[in-house]
Amino acid sequence: MNTVIFRTLAPFLTALMLLFSVFVLLRGHNEPGGGFIGGLIAAAAMAIYGVARGIQPVREALWFHPMAIAAFGLLLACVAGLVSMLAAVPFLTGLWIYPSLFGVEVPLSTVMLFDLGVYLVVVGAITSIALALEREDI
């Protein structure tokens, strides 16, 4: 798999897949997509990059340890639930606000925050599994 073409193309492929994963995540509420799928696409992107360039560049590119990303995602998901409790509704009840940004109404919600948490957990956990298995010296 270590052909020159693959190694050259892999970063672009990864970048595209990451962009696509965010797109899938954001449109998930109204079209097919969502945190699980987006997260898996992003994790696959990392895995491809890792296969092409080795795991060290992936770790450097990620900046954080993938498990830390997953933990942050779990935290976000919990925060999304706790915000609802602060608003005196049951845990994880969806709350929506519609701030206006440059004249465009942007729907923001705790549900979206929760989905982002799911996305990050899936990315982090599965990337860390893949990277662990890609290591040569285990």
Binding site: N30, E31, P32, G34, F36, L40, V122, A125, I126, I129, A132, L133
Partner: protein, 125 residues
């Protein structure tokens, strides 16, 4: 279509269970992977099967009016897929580690926790 799906599910289960009854970890792993798919298809089928119409509410409408696929089993399966993947990865690493430490992929030779010559526990106080 439920009829065909039922038969398909049966085939998946039979194959998965046959693989899992083997003594060798790799075949057991393959069996677990197929078992996940079998269970997902089972859930999918029991929610009844409709063609091609995803459970998405068309723009401009407040509720679903058309007949679509059943969203509930889909939601269950979606998370199940991810979880069974994590489970599969865990088993994979576990067998890998077992192989490295014990030097065998035969489950019957792995007797560290339950040794063959296990003496009777002491009686007394």
């Amino acid at each position: 279509m439920e009829v065909l799906f039922s038969l398909l599910v049966g085939v998946f289960f039979a194959a998965a269970i046959y693989l899992m009854l083997s003594k060798f970890l790799v075949r057991i792993l393959l069996g677990v992977a197929i078992l996940g798919n079998a269970v997902n298809l089972l859930l999918f089928t029991s929610g009844r099967i409709l063609r091609e119409v995803p459970p998405v509410i068309p723009a401009g409408l407040d509720r679903q009016v058309a007949v679509t696929a059943n969203p509930l089993p889909q939601a269950l399966i979606l998370t199940a897929i991810v979880i069974s993947f994590s489970f599969f990865a865990f088993l994979l690493v576990l067998s890998y580690r077992a192989f490295q430490d014990l030097g065998t992929d035969n489950a019957n030779d792995m007797r560290v926790a339950e040794p063959v010559a296990d003496s009777a526990p002491p009686t007394g106080y």
